[in-house]
């Protein structure tokens, strides 16, 4: 009601001669929730770089409407803090759109709030499949874990891998990875010999991987939370299992930004992911060029950079189409039909699920000109989230 009243007011203003001045002053505020401090601060940095590159390429306003990004630091997975910051952004800063959100618990914590406040919220990361179901105002431009874990299982079954062991970190996303890798791998005729869950606090992975060695699988699928555990898993694989001929299959573990920490141990790891840093398209090239120009030669795009870049793309399209005072329901209705080109390749939003549909790439870690990179060798075009098909919405 309030925004309809706003439209009436706007119409009145437009009719009057001060219309020009009023339009020039219009601003859409976008609140971005992300960790900018603590052990997960890289997410915030990468989000910000993605957003700033987008704004450099497309300006800070759309059709004369200024887009102002307001950043708020959530620290790590902290549901209460995320909710409080979202509330402040909505009530005090009067943002019209929310974005960001790295962790699933944070996304779930704000679901009721954004429903109540009718706040369109573009998820730049949080990847647990169920999230978008929790509020009709969620749109996700990132990925879901089943979306990338199933393809690597499929690929393995088709490419001479008969048996596998899964070893995942003992937390929600790890279970999703384990479930969807196994499901796809078994559907393709593969056999999962053992499913191991390793505590997040694990420092030494050798006992788990000694077990894998005993199982003698053709391949090992891992899923880790990034940071020290992921480096530990890949190093342990390289020193124990690689010499025994056991292949390593992964998803987010081999991002180019992380490869220098792992070193040559990562060579040969096959992974499935929705963004490959070396993918050949003009948007990706421009992203690299602008990142280097703005943030120095060491800047490397990762999933966070690209997802934030695409999140801004979606927001700019909506504001350009609907103006500064659109109703939340209209924004969501518009966004659920979006389709555009991203540095990762073409993406679209599924109108039914409000979740992203995109290419999933199979790639292998190789060394080129002294740099460890992921090189695509197969593209699975426009994959939806398989979880949604397995869990139809009951109404």
């Amino acid at each position: 009601m309030r925004s309809r009243w706003g439209m009436t007011l706007l119409a009145a203003l437009l009719a009057s001669s001060v219309a020009g001045a009023a339009l020039a002053a219009e601003t859409v505020k976008v609140g971005v929730l992300a960790p900018f401090s603590g052990p997960f601060a890289r997410w915030g940095t990468q989000f910000r770089q993605g957003i700033e590159v987008w704004q450099k390429q497309h300006g800070t306003s759309v059709d004369g409407i200024k887009i102002e990004v307001v950043y708020r630091d959530t620290g790590g997975p902290a549901p209460a803090r995320a909710r409080q910051l979202a509330e402040e952004l909505i009530l005090r800063d009067k943002v019209q759109i929310l974005g960001g959100i790295v962790f699933t618990p944070n996304a779930l914590a704000i679901a009721d709030l954004i429903t109540e406040a009718k706040m369109p919220t573009v998820i730049f990361n949080a990847a647990t499949a169920v999230i978008v179901r929790k509020s009709p105002y969620f749109i996700r431009v990132s990925q879901t874990i089943p979306q990338v874990a199933a393809p690597i299982g499929e690929w393995a079954a088709k490419n001479g891998i008969k048996t596998a062991v899964t070893a995942v970190s003992d937390y929600g996303p790890g279970f999703d990875g384990e479930e969807y890798f196994s499901k796809a791998f078994k559907a393709g005729g593969g056999k999962v010999l053992e499913s191991i869950r390793m505590p997040l606090s694990t420092a030494d992975f050798s006992p788990f991987f000694a077990r894998v060695l005993q199982d003698k699988p053709d391949a090992l699928f891992i899923f880790g939370p990034g940071g020290p555990p992921t480096v530990g898993m890949i190093n342990t694989w390289a020193s124990r299992l690689k010499p025994a001929g056991i292949k390593l299959l992964a998803t987010a573990e081999t991002q180019q930004i992380d490869l220098p920490k792992i070193g040559p141990a990562a060579l040969g790891v096959v992974s499935a992911f929705h963004y490959t840093e070396t993918v050949d398209n003009p948007l990706n090239k421009a992203l690299w060029a602008d990142l280097h120009q703005m943030f120095g030669k060491d800047a490397v795009p990762d999933l966070a950079t690209v997802q934030a870049y695409d999140g801004m793309h979606a927001i700019y399209l909506a504001v350009g189409k609907l103006g500064a005072r659109a109703k939340a329901d209209d924004v969501i209705e518009f966004m659920r039909h979006l389709a555009f080109d991203s540095p990762r390749g073409p993406i679209r939003i599924d109108p039914q699920t409000r979740d992203v549909v995109q290419n999933v790439y199979l790639r292998k870690v190789e060394e080129r000109n002294g740099v460890l990179e992921n090189i695509n060798f197969e593209t699975l075009p426009m994959r939806p989230d398989p979880w949604k098909e397995d869990h139809p919405e009951n109404k």
Partner: protein
């Protein structure tokens, strides 16, 4: 066959825990300071080694130089930050040293960023060695050899040298030691610095197992405290036994019962402490 591998894994993991934690047992046993910043000294050593290796210094020289630098840093910290804490209660000590951890984390994050800093090992440690049964990573064997050598050196220092005799005397009865004319203050400074240097050395050589990043000091703090607690405060031999026992039991447990891995380590600690509340070797002496 698998059993031998798991045993070696456990021993090498235990050795890293021992090298890093042994300094802490001396601090907590000798000076009775709840030193939660021990991991921070270790971490600073690891980072220094990274800088040195990048500047072209060979790995072992870098680890030793980093250890020496952190030893000096530790001695300086003992004189300035820790000394006033000796007479304060445990709460003040815990708060102060915990605060120090956050200062170091923030400083390292500011200078190096929040990411892991890889510390490349010399090439010959990256390979596999045939130990008769199956190829085994050379790095792990190196850790075991190094841990044993350091334990022997410490044993001799504490049991055989004059410094060791003074240290034991000061731990047993600091007031009596002072009355006999020993400079207990200087002994504390020296020992604190040595403990920090060992931690720094351990962080550098153990970087493949415990990767270096700014939250290192908090992430592994519980492990270090557990080794000290289970070993018995102030008991260096206890720390050695505790690190080995925990390393082996934790590793074997994860291998045999991966489903229980999340609580197994803490379960073992619980049982050990119920059995020996004052640690495995709760002798009154430092040795």
């Amino acid at each position: 066959m698998a059993f031998a591998t798991v045993l070696l894994d456990g021993v090498s993991y235990g050795m890293v825990l021992f090298i890093i934690s042994v300094g802490l047992t001396v601090t907590m046993g000798l000076m009775r300071v709840v030193n939660l910043a021990h991991g921070a000294f270790a971490m600073v050593g690891g980072y220094l080694a990274v800088i040195l290796v990048r500047a072209g210094v060979p790995f072992f020289a870098a680890a030793l130089l980093a250890a020496a630098a952190v030893g000096v840093l530790g001695a300086a910290a003992e004189l300035t930050i820790y000394r006033p804490l000796y007479r304060k209660g445990e709460l003040a000590q815990a708060l102060m040293t915990f605060g120090l951890v956050f200062v170091v984390i923030a400083a390292l994050t500011m200078i190096f960023g929040p990411e892991i800093k890889p510390l490349p090992m010399p090439g010959f440690l990256g390979g596999l060695v045939d130990i008769g049964l199956r190829p085994y990573p050379a790095y792990r064997l190196f850790l075991i050899a190094l841990g044993l050598a350091l334990a022997a050196l410490l044993w001799w220092t504490i049991d055989g040298s004059l410094y060791g005799a003074r240290l034991r005397a000061a731990v047993d009865n600091p007031r009596m030691a002072r009355a006999l004319g020993m400079d207990v203050g200087r002994l504390f400074t020296l020992t604190f610095g040595a403990g920090c240097a060992l931690a720094a050395f351990g962080a550098a050589v153990g970087a493949q197992l415990l990767p270096l990043e700014p939250f290192y000091a908090l992430r592994y703090l519980v492990l270090f405290l557990v080794v000290v607690g289970v070993g018995g405060l102030g008991n260096f031999r206890g720390s050695f036994v505790a690190a080995l026992v925990l390393g082996i039991l934790d590793t074997a447990g994860k291998y045999l019962l991966p489903a229980a891995a999340a609580y197994l380590f803490y379960g073992i600690v619980l049982v050990l402490l119920l059995w020996r509340p004052n640690g495995l070797l709760p002798s009154r002496s430092a040795a």
